[in-house]
């Protein structure tokens, strides 16, 4: 499954970079994230619960490893998720470019989803990932606006 697109953040690239890599911000903004911890510079571990429609019980342990990180321009994430209902693995590349007063983010993820969740919910994976990503990016944008307006983290 390929998920790609662009998103505009109304703030400077350095601030967006910091937000995107801040585990506390990720935990707050990414839908279903129960916890996420930065265990080393390039490694995050967390737990995510997917809840959509009839599916309310899909919990995944997720490990994200950062590769070719070039602040503040781009990074690549290796993603591995494992749960009772299936697994996901793949990578996602993120680029950040200045765009007027804001930042344009480009993302391309190539993910494989398997196990029961894929067998039962295959036809919904694309829609669900798009929806969760949109909710996450919208929440991240609100967080950015909040910080730029002088609010605390």
């Amino acid at each position: 499954m390929i998920v790609e697109g662009t998103h505009f953040f109304p703030g400077p690239r350095e601030v967006v970079w910091t937000l995107l890599l801040d585990p506390d911000v990720l935990a707050k903004t990414m839908p279903g994230t129960a916890s996420i911890v930065r265990v080393s510079d390039d490694r995050y571990e967390g737990t995510m619960a997917m809840g959509i429609g009839p599916i309310t019980a899909a919990v995944f342990d997720v490990v994200i490893t950062m590769t070719d990180r070039a602040e503040p321009e781009h990074y690549t994430m290796q993603i591995e998720g494992r749960g009772k209902f299936g697994f996901t693995r793949g990578k996602a590349a993120v680029t950040l470019a200045p765009d007027g007063a804001g930042t344009s983010m480009g993302y391309q993820a190539d993910l494989v989803v398997g196990g029961k969740i894929a067998a039962v919910g295959q036809r919904l994976l694309d829609s669900v990932s798009k929806l969760m990503l949109r909710q996450g990016l919208d929440a991240m944008t609100r967080e950015l606006e909040h910080r730029l307006a002088g609010g605390a983290a």
């Binding site: 959509i52 429609g53 009839p54 599916i55 309310t56 019980a57 899909a58 209902f85 029961k116 969740i117 039962v120 919910g121 295959q122 036809r123 919904l124 994976l125 694309d126 829609s127 669900v128 798009k130 929806l131």
Partner: protein
């Protein structure tokens, strides 16, 4: 496969049902159980308690209302709607859609309210209800309210229902004169989830021109998708082949279908235009027939 342990309630009155639904945090209403029970058996859903609505006869039945419309109880089975002469006469679009819902065994058990509350993006009934401008009658311990179908479906498996709230009935207004409707869907096998589906309602005005239309697609987005660009393109035209082709083309600006193993996004886009043109052709012919 067996579901995880859950509490089971079978209330004998709507009030008791609403009290139970409002009381537990992890409670789900059980209607026909054609989506919820498989999800529980796969252990993808694990409600703490179920409130079975099957002992509430007041939630079932099809009533012809004095204004020429219909009122259908939420617990009415799909098969009852499918076989109803009142539905065939007063809401032919709904009657035409019913055989496309899953398989007969499922239609014998599944309910109209259950399907609407589930809000599957590939489901037929949400699109039909939006096309027919139906109203959903909701009840909870806090009272009742009526929500237009167009406002009820809010996203992927998401509806306007709040915690503890139930659909009790669906009200379908009478069809205006000189109206024609059509329903089309394509699936690889009968009973599969639709690759794309289209519902069309066309109303003719003076000089047989299109006075208004409602074109609602499903399985091309997060829920029923109203094709407003296509509707605008059709308005005021004679509904001839050129106008219908233009409307079918305009549908492309209304949808953002997903890809899955059954069909790519591009293929769904192609199907959406083809099915829209065919559905509009049929709806136009039926509207013209109703004038004679």
């Amino acid at each position: 496969m067996k579901p995880p342990v859950f509490e089971y309630h079978r209330p004998g009155s709507l009030n008791d049902a609403l009290a139970l639904l409002g009381g537990h945090p992890g409670v789900k209403p059980l209607a026909g159980g054609q989506s919820l029970i498989p999800a529980m058996n796969f252990r993808l859903a694990a409600p703490d308690a179920l409130v079975d609505l099957n002992a509430l006869p007041e939630l079932s039945g099809i009533e012809e209302t004095a204004d020429g419309g219909l009122r259908i109880g939420a617990m009415t089975r799909h098969c009852a709607v499918e076989l109803s002469t009142a539905v065939a006469a007063r809401a032919p679009l709904l009657a035409e859609a019913m055989p496309f819902i899953a398989h007969r065994q499922i239609r014998n058990r599944g309910t109209i309210g259950g399907s609407l509350a589930h809000a599957d993006p590939a489901a037929e009934l949400p699109a039909v209800m939006v096309a027919l401008e139906a109203r959903l009658v909701l009840a909870s311990m806090r009272g009742g309210r009526v929500v237009p179908a167009a406002e009820f479906f809010t996203g992927l498996f998401a509806t306007a229902l709040t915690k503890g709230e139930l659909i009790t009935a669906i009200e379908i207004p009478p069809a205006p004169l000189r109206t024609g409707t059509a329903f089309l869907e394509l699936a690889r096998r009968h009973g599969d989830y639709a690759l794309v589906g289209v519902t069309a309602v066309v109303r003719l005005g003076a000089e047989a021109r299109v006075a208004g239309s409602r074109i609602v697609l499903f399985s091309v987005g997060e829920g029923p998708v109203r094709a407003t660009h296509a509707e605008q393109s059709l308005a005021g035209t004679a509904g001839d082949a050129t106008a219908l082709r233009a409307a079918a083309e305009a549908v492309q600006r209304d949808i953002d279908p997903s890809s899955d193993i059954h069909a790519s996004s591009d293929y769904r886009r192609h199907l959406a235009s083809v099915l829209t043109r065919r559905a509009l052709t049929t709806a136009m012919a039926r509207a013209a027939d109703s004038v004679r």
